[in-house]
């Protein structure tokens, strides 16, 4: 049997895939990233576990936050030094802010402390669902962009909010997959797909609600530029291994997107060639 005739003549196996050798960096906030998994730093069993997870997944972007400082509380200093030693880009968030004014002030405090113009803008509109406030998020984005920040705006999957964030100059638009900390995975894939289609030139990062690596691969296959995960790694039985699993899933989903997945069909179509089927037109005994 001629095996060559069984393969498509333009298959990557024969011609060599350019995709596998081409660099595929993500340009965002003035830097070029090769790893599209962003990692949160909260809820790990120990700081050493976070450090190992960062290493295992080769993470380049870590989210951090700011909270009230008590003078007698010294342990935070050691944690901060450890985070700095990891060498990742730090993305401070404004978690806990409930209006644009608070978020803008906290962004300025973060810029001074962390020495970065990146800010993960979170303005919460509802404490129960932790759903972001679209009005104040857009308003704060407009102000912060004018003030020189690269705004990574946490939002829902609402299209019009995302369009307004784009128009406000957000460096990245970060829709949720599901509410923060639920691990439910993408609850509205059609809405996420619409965002990708309607904002083809924006950096889109899925933030919140990712529970397992296959969720990450799924949104990367939709064409998202990156995924931000925290709880799903930190609360895994083995956070270090899970961090690696997420990095692989993000990489896999991204490569799949670029490799152009097949179109879904309504009916079955045999993958094995039909010509020369053994026993064809033989009467069963």
């Amino acid at each position: 049997m001629d095996l060559a005739n069984m393969n498509q003549t333009d298959s990557p196996a024969q011609t060599g895939s350019a995709l596998l050798s081409q660099p595929d960096p993500l340009e965002v906030g003035g830097v070029s990233l090769h790893n599209r998994l962003f990692l949160g730093t909260a809820r790990y069993p120990a700081p050493s576990v976070l450090a190992e997870a960062v290493q295992a997944a080769q993470v380049q972007v870590l989210t951090v936050s700011l909270r009230r400082l008590a003078p007698e509380h010294q342990s935070g200093q050691a944690w901060w030094q450890r985070i700095q030693s990891l060498g990742a880009h730090l993305l401070p968030n404004t978690a806990g802010c409930h209006c644009a004014e608070e978020a803008i002030t906290l962004a300025h405090m973060a810029r001074e402390i962390f020495g970065t113009h990146w800010i993960k803008l979170e303005v919460i509109g509802d404490d129960y669902t932790l759903q972001p406030d679209p009005w104040d998020t857009v308003c704060a984005t407009q102000t912060l962009v004018r003030e020189g920040f690269a705004v990574f705006a946490y939002t829902t999957d609402d299209l019009v909010t995302a369009l307004k964030l784009r128009d406000a100059g957000a460096a990245a638009i970060m829709p949720w997959a599901a509410p923060i900390g639920t691990g439910a995975g993408p609850r509205n894939l059609p809405a996420l797909r619409t965002l990708r289609e309607r904002l083809p030139d924006s950096v889109l990062v899925v933030d919140a609600g990712i529970g397992a690596p296959h969720h990450a691969a799924q949104v990367m296959e939709l064409g998202y530029d990156a995924v931000l995960v925290n709880t799903a790694v930190a609360e895994a039985g083995d956070p270090v291994a899970m961090a690696r699993a997420f990095a692989l899933a993000v990489q896999s989903g991204r490569l799949s997107r670029r490799a152009l997945p097949m179109r879904e069909r309504e009916v079955a179509q045999a993958s094995t060639p039909l010509v020369g089927v053994p026993f064809w037109h033989q009467t069963p005994a």
Binding site: R43, P71, P92, M109
Partner: protein, 77 residues
């Protein structure tokens, strides 16, 4: 406000990280020292929800009723 004009014995009633406190300090830097904050640490300040850059702490004159926030890095998602 003229900082030097404040008598050293005068006490200001302010809010510090959400708690009512009295201070004899006339400036933000003075308050931080009085409350034993280590100013060499990574921390940032806001007064009445407005950011006060570190370089302004020494000159920033406190007013009665000021709400001061002092924050430092923590883990976050």
């Amino acid at each position: 406000m003229n900082v030097s004009a404040m008598p050293s014995s005068a006490k200001l009633q302010i809010q510090l990280n959400g708690e009512a406190v009295q201070t004899q300090s006339a400036t933000l830097a003075g308050l931080l020292a009085e409350r034993r904050f280590d100013a060499t640490r990574a921390m940032a300040c806001a007064v009445n929800r407005r950011f006060v850059p570190r370089g302004d702490w020494a000159q920033y004159a406190l007013q009665p009723g000021d709400a001061i926030e002092v924050v430092s890095p923590v883990v976050g998602g």
